[in-house]
């Protein structure tokens, strides 16, 4: 499972953000979704979808080495080790690392693929073709 964005299909609904927050934390809060939906209005009138590009900048920025790379290529925050400093949030070039206030931890995309299942527009897809819209 590897996320890819098809921004020209995005309609700005942010269902992906809620799906992510609910899947990973059980919290109904779009600000915890590990993606970014960037509107470009009034001109040119399109949305931009930013997903985790697995650049590792979050891991490099973490002062306590709470972020590790998993075999599949995605990253994971060790919530026990995370001190909530937010360095990874600032380091992410795509602005898709989140800070979850209720848990005082950072969160990076785990490539769970749930956003792919519930994006109504297929604006987020699995490059590997394994996960599809529900």
């Amino acid at each position: 499972m590897k996320l890819a964005a098809c921004s020209d299909r995005c309609s700005g609904c942010r269902v992906c953000l809620l799906t992510c927050a609910l899947t990973n934390f059980g919290l109904n809060n779009p600000r915890y979704g590990a993606l970014s939906i960037v509107p470009h209005f009034p001109s040119p009138g399109t949305y931009e979808v930013k997903v985790c590009i697995r650049c590792g900048a979050c891991k490099d920025a973490c002062p306590v080495r709470a972020i590790s790379e998993l075999p599949g290529g995605s990253y994971r925050v060790d919530q026990e080790a995370c001190t909530g400093c937010g360095a990874c949030v600032d380091a992410c070039p795509e602005n898709v690392v989140r800070f979850v206030a209720e848990k005082n931890v950072a969160f990076v995309c785990t490539s769970c693929g749930e956003c792919v299942k519930y994006c109504p527009r297929e604006a987020i897809v699995d490059e590997d073709g394994e996960v599809k819209r529900a």
Binding site: S11, L22, G45, A101, A134
Partner: protein
């Protein structure tokens, strides 16, 4: 059972004192009125002093999401906004999509009340618990779209912003509140009340989590709801064209507003339909929070007057700023749409008033000297000229800005007969001389001539377009069902357009809120709200009732001249028969007031006392 959906607080903003405070969201408010439109109705009844002028410090604007707004389910992005309407003098409300509503929830509020009047143009900035009043001097006077753009740059993209344009600032009776570069709370002049209160914009940023009573169950149900929508047969066909897709059909059945509703079939409709939109101008499918079926069509259109970017045109705009003014090119309708959006003018009323002015000119009731130029059907220049003049109250625009009811009373010469309005609110996109269920829907819609509460034309087609039987019942049924969505804080298009079943919402409601309500309970609250909004208008407008429920004389005196509905009209006796049936079925008096027994049945006994004070008889 744990509670959820609600944030537990109502934010009250006092523009005069530049202060704010919160109060707990009342148990009885949630229990009896649910949220959204229900909150609007009850809070206006309670908080607007009897007889307060629409343009006054005492008038209140209520902005209310619903308990399901911002929650994980299709269409959870709507906000309901209401006030004492400057257009009708009675209950006014309007609904808006985009992302404003979920942001209000995430900032921690079930409703925002706006009171008082700013000493100077004001921007209210809400960030979770913090409320700040900023000087809006540098955005005052700017278009609604431009102002939002400026404020987004200043405050940040993660603020959701609602603005008014020059029309609201100039107290145009059909000024709207705008948001998200193309969404509006369009009807009944809510934008004018903002303008009078010197409220240019509200910016909201919320970071809180919305509580859910049974999180795992609700999430699972939400996932099933989205998946079900994805697999509805209509899911694929609907989105590419949006609401414009119905243009052909409305013409086919002879219900399309054409040249100020003088006709009901527009010969140029193929140039302004969904296909024309998709082929010639569409850029993006743009939707609201949580929506799987984005109806918004963001477009780029080029005309002789210039190029615009606009969200639209939506069906209503195609009807009122298209066929109704004789424009037969989608690019020109889009251009007029963009002009109206930047000015902060409701496109429905704007198109209706423009058409009225053009007909007056054609009949010599307005001269070139009165207007400042010639006016013609099918002329984009005429339409744009009128919209600009209205928004700025310049020249003839000052009178037109009052709406067609008032303008026609001043202009006279028989123009009152073709002022196409009910209760001072201009008629929207479905002509109904051959659709009695749609006709009674428009006559009795609580805010004036709007189609949102009851869309019943297919009922007419299915049961017979000439019969009156069952038509009032259908209107009543829809007037209860459709506003349930306005109370829940949701969009109804998934149900309305792709047949997504109502039971789904009933199932989810207890999972989110922890309230053991069934669909019937939501309908009951909707009926309660319906009676309360009627009562509010009765309290605020002396002699309110039946006489405010009639359609314009054009519909009762002029048979449709041509097209599929040729020869059709609604005779006054038929309008009376429909009203008699409607009032009886609702438990209302023959004079059109809620009956005392009905009010008591709905727990609105206190309302009966207030209306009897005004001398209304509430005996059915």
């Amino acid at each position: 059972m744990k509670r959820g959906g609600y944030m537990g607080k109502i934010l009250e903003i006092d523009l005069s004192m530049k202060t704010s405070r919160t109060t707990p969201t009342g148990e009885d408010l949630m229990r009896d009125f649910i949220g959204g439109r229900g909150f609007v109705a009850k809070l206006l009844w309670d908080l607007v002093p009897r007889g307060a002028a629409p343009f006054s410090e005492e008038n209140v604007v209520v902005i209310a999401p619903g308990p399901l707004t911002g929650v994980f389910l299709p269409g959870s992005g709507k906000v309901h906004m209401g006030t004492k309407s400057p257009a009708s003098g009675g209950y006014g409300d309007s609904n808006m999509g985009g992302h404003f509503s979920p942001e209000i929830k995430c900032a921690g509020y079930d409703a925002i009340l706006v009171r008082g009047k700013g000493k100077e143009p004001t921007l209210v900035v809400i960030e979770d618990d913090k409320v700040a009043f900023q000087d809006a001097g540098d955005v005052w006077g700017r278009g609604a779209i431009t102002a939002e753009s400026m404020l987004k740059k200043r405050l940040g993209e993660d603020f959701q912003i609602a603005t008014i344009g020059p029309a609201g600032e100039n107290l145009v009776k059909f000024a709207c509140v705008s948001h998200d570069f193309g969404r509006q709370a369009g009807r009944t002049g809510v934008g004018a009340v903002w303008g009078w209160k010197n409220l240019k914009a509200i910016a909201v940023r919320g970071t809180k989590t919305i509580p859910v009573a049974e999180p795992e169950k609700a999430f699972q149900k939400g996932k099933e709801m989205y998946a079900a929508c994805f697999h509805k047969p209509g899911f694929q066909t609907w989105t590419p064209y949006g609401t414009a897709e119905v243009v052909d059909w409305v013409n086919k059945v002879g219900a399309f507003p054409t040249r100020n509703f003088s006709e009901t079939y527009f010969e140029g409709y193929r140039g302004i339909n969904g296909q024309a939109l998709k082929d010639r101008i569409k850029v993006t499918d743009k939707g609201c929070f949580g929506c799987p079926t984005p109806c918004g069509k963001y477009s780029r259109a080029r005309t002789a007057l210039g190029e615009v970017l606009v969200e639209g045109p939506e069906y209503e705009t195609i009807a009122l700023l298209g066929g109704n003014v004789g424009l037969d090119k989608i690019e020109e309708v889009a251009y007029a749409n963009a002009v109206a959006d930047e000015l902060g003018l409701d496109t429905i009323s704007g198109g209706n008033v423009a058409a009225f002015a053009i007909e007056c000119f054609q009949k010599g009731l307005l001269t070139e000297k009165d207007v400042g130029r010639k006016l013609a059907w099918g002329d984009l220049g005429s339409v744009v000229f009128l919209l600009e003049k209205m928004a700025r109250r310049e020249g003839i625009g000052d009178l037109l800005a009052e709406g067609v009811r008032t303008a026609s009373r001043k202009i006279r010469g028989g123009s009152e007969k073709f002022a196409i309005q009910v209760k001072g609110v201009e008629w929207s996109g479905y002509e109904a001389r051959w659709a009695p269920a749609m006709m009674i829907s428009y006559m009795t819609c609580d805010v004036g001539a709007h189609h949102n509460r009851s869309w019943a034309i297919t009922y007419d087609v299915a049961k017979g377009r000439d019969t009156l039987e069952g038509k009032a019942d259908k209107a009543i049924e829809l007037q209860h069902i459709r506003p349930v969505f306005d109370a829940l804080g949701l969009c109804r298009l998934q149900w309305v357009e792709i047949g997504f079943e109502l039971e789904n919402y009933a199932e989810l409601f207890p999972m989110v809120t922890g309230m053991d309500y069934r669909w019937e309970d939501l309908i009951r609250a909707s009926e309660r709200t319906w009676n309360l909004t009627r009562a509010f208008s009765a309290r605020e407008i002396a002699g309110f009732g039946r006489s405010y429920d009639y359609p314009p004389e054009r519909f009762m005196e002029e048979p449709v001249p041509d097209g599929p509905a040729k020869g059709k009209l609604i005779r006054r006796a038929q309008a009376d028969a429909l009203l008699d049936d409607y009032y009886a079925k609702r438990g209302w008096t023959p004079g059109g007031l809620p009956g005392k027994a009905k009010l008591e049945e709905l727990g609105l006994g206190y309302v009966a006392g207030e209306l009897e004070k005004d001398g209304y008889s509430l005996k059915p």
